[in-house]
């Protein structure tokens, strides 16, 4: 769309009125919601913290100092130290990189696979739909964390395999969402109009149906990052995700749980980080839903 907009200004002269596009309208509605903006702020905060980790803290995330182990928060170690004397503040900050990375890419993976399958199922229907929908049913029949554990067990423990597992178990969520959107959009008159104009199936799917299905995918994707962060932490906690000494929040909690009564800070700060990230994505996702849902429009 961007490129044609540029052509417009050349071909049609520089006359440009106040533009109103569906996305711009959504942004105006989003701006009005305080909680969504707080969520967005939290998300940006963690992204910045993760990116600037080496600037914020000078200590290495795996630097052990057994003489200083299990020290409470102090001026030198803001969040205290863990059982190996590592600075928890540093590890929580570097942990943001891991959690956001897993959260983001697992969701992108789920969306790409789920959306393609949902598009095909919804558009072509019949046996294609039956096969894909039953596949989704099968995946959803398992408790999701159990399925993730099974997949990681097959692939072998580790962060990337945890990411793959999380992506796979969430495919049906997006697949079903897209399929249901496609089922209603393909009956719209503008799709018939596109056929009448001689467009191919692929073109109709990708340039007419897909863009009109994007809003719920974006909302679900944002909320999905929160779930994925939690699932990554859960797998880390179970020892199936990130491996020591990676500073993954769930893994940090798992490693320190025996000290919870004696050194609460070893568990508290990674836990707070998980909670805040998840809260941020949930608040923002809810706000996005209100902004993008056409039924909510005034």
């Amino acid at each position: 769309m961007q490129s044609t907009a540029q052509v417009n200004t050349q071909a049609a002269g520089p006359v440009r009125t106040r533009q109103s596009s569906p996305w711009r309208d959504a942004w105006y509605r989003l701006k009005k919601q305080k909680t969504a903006l707080i969520g967005l702020f939290v998300i940006i905060f963690f992204i910045v913290v993760g990116l600037l980790a080496p600037v914020i803290t000078s200590q290495p995330w795996d630097g052990q100092n057994l003489a200083d182990k299990l020290k409470p928060p102090s001026a030198q170690h803001w969040f205290g130290t863990d059982d190996l004397g590592r600075d928890i503040f540093t590890r929580v900050i570097y942990g943001a990189r891991i959690s956001l990375w897993v959260g983001f890419f697992s969701v992108v993976g789920s969306i790409v696979i789920g959306t393609s399958m949902g598009l095909v199922a919804g558009y072509y229907g019949r046996w294609v739909d039956t096969i894909i929908s039953r596949l989704f049913d099968i995946i959803l029949a398992f408790p999701s964390i159990l399925l993730a554990i099974a997949i990681v067990t097959i692939l072998g423990p580790g962060l990337s395999n945890a990411l793959i597992a999380i992506a796979v178990i969430n495919v049906p969520t997006y697949g079903r969402l897209v399929r249901s959107r496609v089922l209603s959009i393909k009956e719209e008159e503008y799709v018939t109009a596109a056929k009448v104009l001689g467009m191919s199936h692929a073109r109709i799917l990708f340039s007419h149906i897909l863009p009109n299905s994007m809003a719920p995918i974006i909302v679900q994707g944002t909320l999905g990052v929160a779930t994925a962060v939690l699932e990554a932490a859960a797998l880390g906690f179970l020892g199936l995700g990130a491996q020591a000494p990676q500073p993954e929040w769930g893994k940090m909690i798992a490693d320190s749980r025996q000290y919870i009564t004696a050194a609460y800070w070893t568990v508290l700060f990674p836990g707070l980080a998980i909670m805040l990230t998840v809260l941020g994505f949930n608040l923002f996702g809810d706000g996005l839903r209100d902004a993008l849902d056409p039924k909510m429009k005034q």
Binding site: V15, Q19, E189, T192, A193, V196, G198, P211, N212
Partner: protein, 336 residues
């Protein structure tokens, strides 16, 4: 007149769980070059399925063209491959729909949508396609076309959108434009403007138009010839003057009588008694017989064919065969 589109013996049936629905059951329609043909009938008479058949867009399953041919120029549309068909759609035959509110994609600008259509069939670069889009919008009477190309559909009124839809349909200079109730969703003043616009485009480009409507006012204003459908069949065909002055089929008469006229004072409008039969419960014999005030015994069991009356008029009624020329009196005397 040289025929542009010639539909003969077209049968489009829907195979449902309740049985075969014969939505279009042996229809013949000829459209000449530069001619406007009206296709008239109540809801469910098969006029929309006929137009979808021409476009080869009858959804399968359950619908299928089971018989007949649709000759467009020298090609039979029924036999073309899907790829050849895509070439015809939008390029040679274009179609506009009833509801302009829903026939534009809400997430793209007007310009993007017209440019996409143009580039689909014409080898133009984006810049040229865009300037053609602006020209088209000007042609259909959209003011400030240079700005409107950057607008999204929800910012335009219904009449403006229908103009955009017509601009898109005319983008590749189609030879035939199928207009499926193009003015039904618009208010009366806008209707008149849109009809004027279509007449102008027809005159400028020599496009033939198949005007599908149930509004006889639109027919009187726009069409050269009229085909009246009932129960999946053509029941009457005539040029527009003959149809309005000397309708021959009782159904056409009923339709014409149900139009209020300005110099009549009536409390109730005349209407045709009963409803269109459900396709799965089509009566034997003449499809219209159960609602026909002139129905004879013969009509219940035997189906009339399309009789030539002369002067291009055809009628599917036994009264024609028996030579009764149709004006109210003779028929009245016949039935009394």
């Amino acid at each position: 007149m040289k025929p542009l589109l010639n539909i003969s013996g077209l049968k489009t049936h829907f195979f449902t769980a309740e049985g075969v629905v014969r939505s279009v059951d042996g229809v013949d329609i000829m459209i000449g070059e530069g001619e406007t043909v009206g296709l008239v009938g109540e809801s469910g008479c098969g006029k929309s399925v006929t137009s979808l058949s021409i476009m080869r867009l009858v959804p399968w399953p359950p619908g299928k063209i089971v018989e007949g041919s649709i000759m467009f120029q020298d090609k039979d549309i029924v036999c073309l491959s899907e790829a050849e068909m895509r070439d015809i759609r939008g390029n040679d035959i274009a179609m506009i729909f009833q509801d302009p509110m829903t026939s534009l994609n809400p997430v793209f600008t007007i310009g993007d949508q017209i440019v996409e259509t143009i580039r689909l069939h014409m080898k133009l670069n984006k810049k040229k396609a865009l300037s053609r889009a602006v020209d088209l919008l000007k042609q259909v009477g959209i003011p400030r076309a240079e700005q409107i190309v950057n607008e999204y559909p929800h910012r335009l009124s219904g009449g403006m959108r229908q103009r955009v839809v017509i601009a898109m349909a005319m983008a590749c200079n189609p030879k035939l434009l199928i207009a499926d109730e193009p003015t039904t969703a618009l208010d009366v003043t806008i209707q008149a403007q849109i009809l004027d616009l279509m007449r102008k485009l027809k005159k400028d480009n020599g496009t033939s138009i198949l005007m599908i409507t149930h509004d006889l006012g639109v027919v009187a204003e726009m069409c050269d010839r009229v085909v009246v459908m009932y129960g999946g069949k053509v029941v009457e065909e005539a040029d527009v003057n003959t149809l309005f002055t000397a309708p021959s089929h009782p159904y056409t008469k009923g339709l014409l009588q149900s139009i209020p006229s300005i110099d009549q004072e009536k409390e109730w409008l005349d209407s045709i008694p009963g409803n269109v039969p459900i396709p799965s419960e089509m009566p034997e014999g003449c499809k219209f017989a159960p609602r026909c005030i002139y129905a004879m015994e013969r009509c219940q069991t035997e189906e009339p064919t399309l009789y030539e009356i002369g002067n291009g008029q055809k009628s599917r009624c036994f009264l024609v065969e028996e030579g009764a020329r149709y004006d109210g009196n003779t028929i009245e005397s016949k039935t009394s």
